[in-house]
């Protein structure tokens, strides 16, 4: 276990009591605002001190209330990417990038300055002042600054929340790079299901200061019982590979032998991608559907049916591509006579597999 957190803290109108252990990779602390996400990440960073508990990262005890241990933030060897960048306004981009690195001269790492500058596309901005950068550029500098500080772990508190959609799409891939190329453990705070779907290897869901769910991303997001962001957010994540780009503007993916068609993706052929299918975009059919406009039809067997409190029900279907979720009405469940173990066809509207829900892996 790379990160183990067990902390309790009482504030005026809010009590936090969380415990979780997560492996390497990118862990998303997920939950609505006010659920305690930022309190947890700041406790890991050493910016706030919980009243009780223990925090251990890669075998290092960062905080242990019972033994009176609380490593100050500057000795925790972390790289923290904040929501608002927090670049030093009186330093050039280059000096910002090197700030933490110069303080960690005695630590070795594989991360080279030139490579980070190139990866983040900051070469022509090095001698500029942060005030002249756009929001997305600032956030790229912030990522570089955290990465260059030779951290043992990256922390990020809603690093995309202050950006517009286009900038979000510009910054998101860099976190995938941190996760995949630099193999750094990352603790990432977010309330966006799209970010969770695209980035998370592990999800820690928080609600009202408590951990409501911990697990692998595909498992947690594919669980119909997991509806923290509202029932509309329920959806399955499938691993796929880009098979071909067709002349009519569609990209064909191969998901465990099942062909999926999406509007053209930028990823090259052979690249692994993650696809998210929202449950409300999946219809069910007992027979192989004919004469439908939908391109993506998968056959499978019903693994579970979970009726909600309202008129809806969520049906989990095991397919060759993985587990798919469908949100249909309870009336349809009855009318169709759906039972567990039954073979079924899932019809996915191809437009529903939106580009922002698809990420490179």
């Amino acid at each position: 276990m790379t990160l183990s957190v067990q902390i309790a803290q009482k504030l005026d109108d809010f009590a936090l009591d969380v415990a979780f252990e997560v492996p390497d990779g990118l862990t998303v602390l997920f939950g609505p605002s006010g659920s305690g996400k930022t309190t947890v990440i700041n406790a890991v960073a050493g910016l706030s001190r919980p009243s009780q508990g223990r925090i251990e990262a890669q075998g290092r005890v960062l905080f242990d209330a019972s033994r009176g241990v609380c490593l100050p933030a500057h000795r925790r060897e972390i790289g923290y990417v904040f929501q608002e960048g927090r670049l030093f306004p009186h330093m050039t981009v280059r000096k910002n990038l090197l700030y933490g690195r110069q303080l960690a001269r005695d630590r070795q790492d594989e991360i080279r300055f030139d490579r980070v500058v190139e990866m983040l596309g900051l070469g022509r901005h090095l001698d500029r002042q942060p005030v002249h950068l756009s929001g997305g550029e600032k956030q790229r500098v912030a990522i570089g600054r955290a990465l260059l500080a030779r951290p043992k772990m990256i922390l990020a508190d809603e690093p995309l929340a202050a950006l517009d959609e286009r900038r979000k799409a510009e910054i998101l891939p860099y976190f995938e790079l941190l996760r995949d190329e630099f193999s750094l453990p990352i603790l990432y705070v977010s309330h966006s299901i799209a970010e969770v779907a695209r980035l998370a290897t592990t999800v820690v869901a928080l609600a009202q200061g408590q951990v409501s769910r911990v697990g692998a991303a595909a498992e947690v997001l594919g669980d119909p019982a997991f509806t923290p962001a509202g029932v509309r957010a329920v959806g399955a994540i499938l691993d796929a590979r880009v098979k071909a780009h067709h002349a009519d503007g569609l990209t064909e993916l191969d998901a465990g032998g099942v062909a999926l068609f999406l509007p053209k993706l930028v990823q090259p052929e052979g690249q692994s991608v993650r696809v998210r299918m929202a449950a409300h975009d999946v219809m069910l059919s007992r027979e192989a559907p004919k004469g439908l406009s939908a391109l993506n039809i998968m056959c499978g067997t019903i693994a579970a049916i979970r009726a909600g409190e309202g008129p809806g029900a969520i049906v989990s279907i095991d397919t060759q591509a993985g587990r798919v979720l469908a949100r249909i009405t309870r009336r349809s469940v009855q009318a169709m006579g759906l039972v567990e173990g039954q073979p079924i066809y899932a019809v996915v509207k191809s437009v529903a597999v939106a580009p922002e829900d698809v990420g490179a892996r």
């Binding site: 100050p72 500057h74 608002e84 927090r86 009186h90 002042q129 500080a149």
Partner: protein, 231 residues
């Protein structure tokens, strides 16, 4: 300028510059510390410290000078300790510098405190997560960001120290070449027949120094606003 000002006038101007320089240099570290404490720390007696620092601003200068004489004079408690260390401030130019420093202190602390309060503590937090200890955060982030504010405060304090009269004359008297600063000299020239011309020349010098200080201070204040504003 040497030819335009008489030797006595020139002496007063040079002494005033020396006194004001050392007053500001001495007040600088204490002023920054006091401003930092008032802006950032919560401690018992914070309001009391605030009042003590601002007292010279509202107290009649003569009262401040008399209190200085009581404590730092040859018979005063602090004065006697200093005397044993071989330091004399009573009726000495160092005493003039001390009086000027205390009178200028509230102006300086206010300026530094204002610029400190404009610094976003989140930047200091960011620096600490990047591995900077408290002292390093202060030196590499806080201090550069408030530097224009410190300079502006120092310029104001310098002008105030140049003009200090009441506390100085009460504490260290009006000894030519020793404690006769520019305002004391103007006062002295006005007391003797035919001294108006000398007084007038010193008045012109005073106005030039005061205007210069205000302009420099204003320019620096604008710079700090721009600098701290760029986030």
């Amino acid at each position: 300028m040497n030819g335009w000002l008489g030797p006595e006038e020139w002496q007063a101007v040079m002494l005033s510059l020396k006194v004001a320089f050392w007053a500001v240099a001495g007040a600088l570290p204490f002023g920054i510390l006091a401003a930092y404490a008032l802006a950032r720390w919560q401690f018992w007696g914070r309001e009391f410290l605030n009042i003590i620092i601002h007292l010279p601003l509202v107290l009649p200068p003569v009262v401040t000078g008399y209190l200085l004489l009581l404590s730092f004079g040859t018979q005063g408690a602090v004065g006697q300790v200093l005397q044993k260390l071989g330091i004399v401030v009573a009726f000495h130019w160092t005493g003039a510098a001390l009086a000027a420093a205390i009178m200028a202190f509230p102006l300086f602390v206010r300026a530094v405190r204002l610029s400190l309060e404009a610094v976003d503590p989140k930047l200091e937090q960011a620096a600490s997560t990047l591995g900077a200890s408290g002292a390093r955060v202060f030196l590499t982030v806080t201090l550069p960001l408030i530097a224009p504010g410190i300079l502006a405060g120092a310029v104001l304090a310098f002008a105030k120290a140049m003009g200090e009269f009441g506390a100085t004359i009460t504490f260290v008297s009006n000894i030519p070449g020793q404690t006769r600063t520019l305002p004391s000299a103007v006062y002295a020239f006005l007391q003797v027949p035919g001294g108006e011309a000398s007084a007038m020349r010193l008045v012109v010098v005073s106005i030039i120094i005061a205007c210069g200080a205000l302009i420099v201070s204003e320019l620096l204040a604008r710079r700090v606003a721009k600098r701290v504003g760029r986030l």
